[in-house]
Point group: C2
Chain length 467, copies 2
């Protein structure tokens, strides 16, 4: 005992790990049997989520923001949500700049002629069909590029490497995403004619990771692309030979300011319309390279399925609002439009699923401070799913962020991100990457959250079996 305590103190480990007297434990919490039953039904038998993810990715496929494909996806969503028995199903339109991809290629001209696999980043400048040719200027981080004199970059094609590795919480994406997010602007301001970055990803496949970037600080848009990880490693090996490396880069793309997108909104009306609402969602749009199975068909599938399980049990006191946000990928346009349109609504909680379909391993919520009793009930309801509480967590989710910034209490269910950035924003984000068992665990977790915070579910007439 003493040794353990000393070790804990000296290592700064959580004192809770030391054995404490049962008299000092917080009061025991019983899980409401209705909550437990709904959760376990979802865990064992949910098919709503798989059916949505399978249907959306198969019958629509890719659905890039503001394109005709995203419009078809909205139609699909309205039809499916209506068929599932949701109320007030409707589209809330908004406008945004639309960016679309054209022909793209990257070729080493010298010293060792060969093709590399590249994909343009969102809002990349266009080379035009003729492409650009320039010597590669290598940097192993954004800071190395920032520290370089303009003369080392001017007239060249910048290549930024990085060292991202998988993390369970996905935190590598924040830090190691800088080459993609800030690299193009910095390269442009220093006079580069183009930039390629090592894909912000953790795989070793010839599938480049696209993603959004903006030109800020008055930077002129230049062509900006991502090399697949094996291609970036190949370029590093070629550069290590010590000879000048010349690349021919073609990234054709188009941008128009008058794109049209929209959010799809559906509800389970609560017994008391005046009680603050439970808001959950994911995003309907995807990047254009794949069918967006884990980003984010699974997110809208999980949330919709969880709400549907509540509907199966009866009518909640609070209204549950499910949103399939539009145009998240190019910059969270749907989330901003939604918050602006619903500034007067009052929310009991806001949560989003947008980190794939692998199991939820941790959760946190603002309620840990504002409503400790609810926090204790959530903790107890989620523990049987192997979900650990995080007293120090943060709000997460691009789409709900504007609503949370406007005052809505948040809840975050962290999904296991170990393999998420193997597929994220690549041609490989396809249905086979969803593990049906882990998908059901996600549905069970969100069902438990909704049931716990519903204000009580009043059994109604048995819902007809709808898809």
């Amino acid at each position: 005992m003493k040794r353990t305590l000393l070790a804990c103190l000296s290592l700064g480990a959580a004192p809770a790990l030391a054995q404490t007297s049962i008299t000092t434990l917080p009061p025991p919490v019983a899980v409401d049997p209705t909550v437990a039953a709904l959760r376990d039904e979802a865990l064992n038998n949910d098919h709503y989520a798989w059916d949505i993810a399978e249907g959306l990715t198969t019958e629509v496929g890719q659905r890039l923001a503001a394109t005709e494909a995203e419009a078809r996806a909205r139609d699909w969503a309205v039809k499916r949500l209506t068929a599932m028995g949701f109320a007030n199903v409707h589209v809330e339109p908004f406008t945004m700049p639309i960016w679309t991809r054209g022909a793209e290629s990257a070729e080493i001209v010298s010293p060792f002629p060969q093709k590399l696999v590249v994909a343009a980043l969102g809002y990349s400048g266009s080379t035009g069909p003729a492409g650009v040719t320039g010597e590669i200027a290598y940097f192993d981080s954004v800071d190395a590029l920032r520290l370089a004199p303009d003369s080392a970059v001017r007239g060249k094609i910048v290549f930024i490497d990085h060292h991202m590795a998988p993390t369970q919480d996905g935190s590598g994406y924040g830090q190691f995403g800088a080459p993609r997010r800030q690299g193009p602007t910095i390269a442009s301001l220093k006079g580069a004619i183009g930039i390629v970055v090592r894909s912000i990803g953790t795989d070793h496949h010839r599938n480049p990771h696209t993603g959004i970037q903006y030109f800020t600080d008055g930077a002129r848009p230049i062509p900006a692309g991502a090399l697949s990880v094996p291609d970036a490693e190949q370029l590093v090996r070629i550069l290590r030979r010590g000879m000048p490396v010349v690349m021919h880069l073609t990234l054709v793309s188009q941008r128009h300011e008058d794109g049209r997108s929209g959010n799809v909104v559906a509800e389970i009306p609560g017994r008391d319309p005046k009680t603050p609402i439970l808001l959950i969602g994911g995003h309907l749009d995807s990047w254009d390279l794949a069918t967006g199975a884990i980003d984010d068909a699974s997110g809208v599938a999980i949330m919709t399925a969880a709400a549907r399980h509540i509907m199966d049990a009866g009518r909640p006191l609070r209204t549950i609002r499910v949103v399939w946000f539009g145009a998240e990928e190019p910059g969270g346009f749907g989330g901003k439009a939604f918050a602006a349109a619903h500034a007067k609504d009052s929310y009991a909680i806001a949560g989003e699923s947008d980190l794939g379909a692998d199991r939820v391993w941790r959760f946190s919520t603002k309620l840990s401070r504002s409503d400790p009793a609810a926090y204790a009930r959530l903790t107890a309801a989620l523990a049987p799913l192997g979900i650990v509480k995080d007293d120090d967590g943060k709000a997460d989710g691009t789409d709900v962020e504007p609503t949370i910034d406007a005052g809505a209490p948040w809840i975050t269910l962290n999904q296991d991100a170990i393999r998420y950035f193997d597929y994220h924003h690549t041609p490989d984000d396809t249905l086979d990457k969803i593990d049906p068992v882990q998908l059901r665990q996600n549905v069970a977790a969100w069902t438990a959250v909704l049931a716990t915070l519903s204000g009580g579910i009043e059994p109604g007439p048995k819902q007809p079996k709808r898809r």
Copy 2:
């Protein structure tokens, strides 16, 4: 004891598994200390193989048979083999039909418009730039296609699915490769306007597996491509909706009969030029989609490194001949040309490495019958590498097959193929797929084979340290 024996008999298990008296064991075999030392040096310290695989894939990249890239690869090979101290380094040219890939795409026109990832198969017919459009005729095997009436196929695009799964010995490739090998001919003879097959592969990435096929039996060449596995699964899901599925398929390619290729030959001259030669090799060419790291830069690297370790020890009695065969992928042209050119040479053994770079787990040889003493020495020398003998094995290797057919005794070292068909013939066959530790085990195994069969190595002056 009795129970075990009975169980063995009743299950037909190998009686050798039952415990036998030590008096009935074959005579013990001691491993020659020189063989063991060379093997273990390669296992622990080889860098020759990695340097060759890294150099060839980085400095040349893809090297499709009979192209200018394969010619550059031959130049690279001659330079490297000479620098490594081999004798008689030279190219033996031959001619062959050359096939090259142009633009390619596959698009579902209806009912759910979307793009699928496709790659043409070798010697595919060309659609021309306009492509062809047709309804999909689905078959889950080549036999299902063979059994179908012509009317079910005529004017349509055939799609053949299959159910290949990984096997350690790679045997799935033989059986499940039929859609690629025979499918196009059968589809053409039945009047199809094109064919796509589920890639002959075991991965789930958007990387199609190309590979060779021929039109036989007088079949007119039609466009023939492979869909990536996720795309094939997507097409199956779309077909399961029960509506007619229409595809627009573009596979542009070119064929000319006057291609030029060649084999690169190098030797360690033996002390007795009249003693039958040890022949080892791999193939220099690759498919055009990737840098051919495991198919087959690793093969030529392993064999060359093994020979180089013998050179490090001194001069063998037998000549060791290392061949980097040309144009294996489009049909083993290099192996046939080599056998024809060397019909008068006499070989003690012929072996090839062409199943990746993962560890050797099993070996077999014709010597098991013709020279049991040598077989016992090989068995003992390879066992410390975890390699099990296979008394019933077969010759293997497209390039050495014609030489073996002409009478050369064969040896086969089976590499672990569990992940080989994840990458085989795809854009993903890149250097990162080679595990340096397993690569060294391969070099150690072939070093042990060469040392065991060398006829004795006479220590010479220490070789200069060459790459």
